[in-house]
């Protein structure tokens, strides 16, 4: 090692001389307390969200408290408080499909359906969300596991698996519409032959519900797979070494290391998939239609864009939908509580 005159490393200047010229903003930011710094970082996000999301929501909420006006320049009437919400829950809203239509009866099962369950937006939506998210999670995990391997052509398999996610909803709808359109696709014949579907699956609530489920799982499992894959890739590989030496079988490694470490990502994926599934609309509209499979968002969209100007009702339905989703989501929030890197 040559001993150079300036000292063993570099020039004679010490770094503070060079360094303390940082500008005022940076210094100000560096000296903020942790909380103040956090708020500063959140500012851009919340500024955008306030303008583009919270402000419209508040306006929409106010809208939901007013009266519908189908004629005249003014789109809304006077304030009616929560009347619109009451109408929704009592089946008196001006929407074509029922939000919920159940009454309590004296005989078993003590609930009486006004219209079949699959004609009630709430239950269609809940059923759809639960079933689709379940299958998407399982399949997504499988796909992520495959993609986490190193193998020749992995990139192309990854492209293949992500492809459905890249398909616009209209096209997704079109594919499954055509597949089960007896004239065009063979899906309808096949399923009928298997005895699963009736002759007009797209016009039958039950068959159409299954078609929509399959279509959604086909597309959205990729979403799950991508997120889970990212989670898998972030796991410190040396932990697997430890576990292997400790005697964990592949399944145990999965259960005790992979799963808990991927759990935060998995929960995020499931959380957002659930919310998405609870808002399903485009897929239904482009396959079986909202009449056959009415979802909550169907009601919102039809109220808002149905041509009859019932904005107040639409707004109220939107908020009621959000409320339902919020209730379901609180289950997740409860889970997040215990997860590292989740909400806490």
């Amino acid at each position: 090692m040559a001993t150079d005159t300036d000292g063993p490393i570099g020039g004679g200047e010490t770094e503070t001389e060079r360094d303390r010229s940082g500008n005022a903003v940076v210094n100000w930011m560096e000296n903020l307390s942790e909380a103040a710094y956090a708020y500063l970082l959140l500012l851009p996000a919340f500024a955008l969200l306030t303008l583009i999301a919270f402000y419209p929501l508040i306006m929409t909420f106010i809208m939901s408290l007013r009266e519908d006006r189908t004629r005249g320049a003014e789109p809304l009437g006077g304030f009616v408080g929560i009347d619109n919400y009451v109408d929704i829950l009592t089946g008196n809203a001006r929407v074509a499909r029922q939000f919920m239509d159940i009454s309590v009866s004296a005989s078993f099962p003590f609930l009486e359906l006004g219209v079949p369950l699959l004609q009630q937006a709430l239950f269609v939506t809940l059923g759809f969300a639960v079933i689709s998210v379940f299958f998407e999670t399982v399949i997504g995990f499988g796909q992520a596991y495959v993609l986490d391997q190193d193998f020749r052509g992995r990139r192309w398999v990854r492209v293949a698996i992500i492809l459905p996610w890249a398909v616009p909803i209209v096209i997704q709808g079109m594919i499954f519409f055509l597949l089960f359109q007896p004239e065009v696709g063979f899906g309808s014949d096949l399923m009928q032959w298997l005895g699963i579907f009736g002759p007009n699956p797209l016009a039958d609530s039950q068959d159409a519900f299954i078609i929509i489920l399959v279509a959604d799982i086909w597309k959205s499992a990729a979403f799950m797979a991508l997120l889970i894959l990212a989670g898998l890739q972030s796991v410190d590989r040396s932990l697997y070494d430890v576990a292997r030496v400790a005697g964990a079988s592949p399944w145990q490694r999965f259960k005790m290391i992979t799963l808990p470490l991927v759990m935060p990502a998995l929960l995020v994926a499931m959380l957002f998939r659930t919310m998405d599934a609870m808002r399903v609309y485009g897929l239904i509209e482009s396959t079986a239609g909202c009449t056959t499979v009415p979802s909550l968002t169907c009601l919102v969209v039809e109220a808002m864009f149905g041509g009859t100007r019932i904005f107040a009702t639409a707004a109220a339905v939107a908020f009621a939908t959000a409320l339902v989703i919020g209730l379901i989501i609180s289950v997740y929030v409860f889970f997040f509580r215990d997860t590292e890197g989740g909400l806490y």
Binding site: V167, L178, G185, P250
Partner: protein, 363 residues
């Protein structure tokens, strides 16, 4: 369950010659460096040894004992084979299920107009011209370009703003964290329609400040009218993803960066983000594709003209007539619109991941 180990990976080079590449180790004659190169092109990541993947040779005592004695015997002596074959079965299954609808879509595209009956596994006639007609009927490339710009802009906006928020939520302690996080989440409870009426008013209001930029001072018919709401709507997902991944980076690395001379923000961009590369890239991919394919605002925030930033959706819907639908064109246009994006996104993602984790910080 699949598992993997070093040699399993090395065997990739010889897969296809025979199934039990287990004990032939290096005697397969494939030069070491060659295999290495191939691994690199496949995975894009150096296959370091500590990254034990998933397929391993672990013996599973509880293997199924079926009637195929020979097979079972083989499997027991060489359980890796079972994992391998399970792995292949799964891969093929996934490939089939995801790709079949595309194949079928391709068949629809190839079937001449008006003959879309009883397409099963082959097209009804053969009309590859649809892929050209798509561009003749509408300037489909324009729509693609618009969508591309909008999606790129939204993705960047979401990742930057979302990263700041994700960092705050994931790595800092402050009062009100949980309520604020829930507040972000609440946005995703609402169907997009819930935002529409006020936003429609807002974007059609003329703002003096915007006049030099947009001409009439409104955001309608500009990319902004889509980028802003789409960013806002997909922001919660990105924030949650980023929060999750940022939270997992050990404090020590951030500390090291700060002592080395980064600002707090610098540590985020130089260490936290690169180390969360899989998460960041995933958030980016999800946002990009979601925006690219978004239906609601894409449809309502422009007048549908390609020169007014109408996105791909308007293009696809353009093939839909009042009383007839040009299914073959819609199918063709979807394939054209989707496949390049999916490939681009994946390639970009790999680049991003390797870029973030490798050279990105060179200046």
């Amino acid at each position: 369950m699949f598992d993997d180990n070093d040699s399993a990976r090395e065997d990739d080079g010889v897969r296809g010659t025979d199934g039990d590449g287990d004990d032939n180790g290096d005697s397969d004659g494939v030069p070491e460096h060659w295999k290495r190169t191939r691994e690199m092109t496949d995975g894009g990541q150096p296959a370091d040894e500590s990254r034990s993947g998933i397929l391993t040779e672990d013996t599973e005592a509880e293997l199924d004992r079926g009637p195929f004695q020979q097979w079972v015997a083989d499997s027991i002596s060489n359980p890796e084979r079972v994992y391998r074959s399970m792995f292949y079965t799964a891969t093929i299954f996934f490939l089939f299920t995801t790709l079949f609808p595309f194949y079928w879509l391709l068949m629809v595209a190839l079937t001449p107009e008006g003959q879309q009956q009883d397409i099963i596994l082959t097209p009804n006639g053969f009309n590859p011209g649809a892929f050209i007609e798509v561009f003749q009927v509408l300037p489909f490339h324009w729509y693609m370009f618009n969508s591309f710009v909008i999606a790129t802009a939204s993705t960047i906006l979401v990742l930057v703003i979302g990263s700041l928020a994700g960092y705050a939520f994931g790595r800092l302690e402050f009062p009100g964290k949980t309520p604020l996080m829930l507040l972000v989440l609440i946005i995703s409870f609402f169907p997009p329609a819930a935002f529409f009426i006020p936003l429609n008013d807002l974007f059609n209001t003329s703002f003096f400040l915007l006049e030099p930029i947009t001409g009439d001072g409104t955001l309608y018919n500009t990319p902004g009218a889509m980028v802003l709401p789409l960013s806002a709507i997909f922001m919660p997902l990105a924030i949650f993803i980023l929060t999750t991944f940022y939270a997992q980076i050990p404090d020590g690395l951030e500390d090291a960066a700060r002592v080395e001379g980064t600002t707090r923000l610098g540590a985020l961009f130089r260490v936290i983000i690169p180390l969360s590369a899989p998460g960041v890239a995933t958030a980016g991919v999800l946002t990009f594709i979601a925006v690219y394919n978004e239906f609601f605002f894409s449809f309502l925030m422009t007048d549908g003209q390609p020169e007014n930033w109408a996105p791909i959706l308007e293009g696809i819907l353009g093939y839909q007539g009042q009383y007839e639908v040009m299914y073959h064109l819609m199918a063709a246009s979807s394939i054209i619109g989707v496949i390049p994006v999916a490939i681009l996104v994946i390639v970009a993602q790999e680049k991003i991941v390797s870029g973030l984790t490798a050279g990105a910080l060179k200046e």
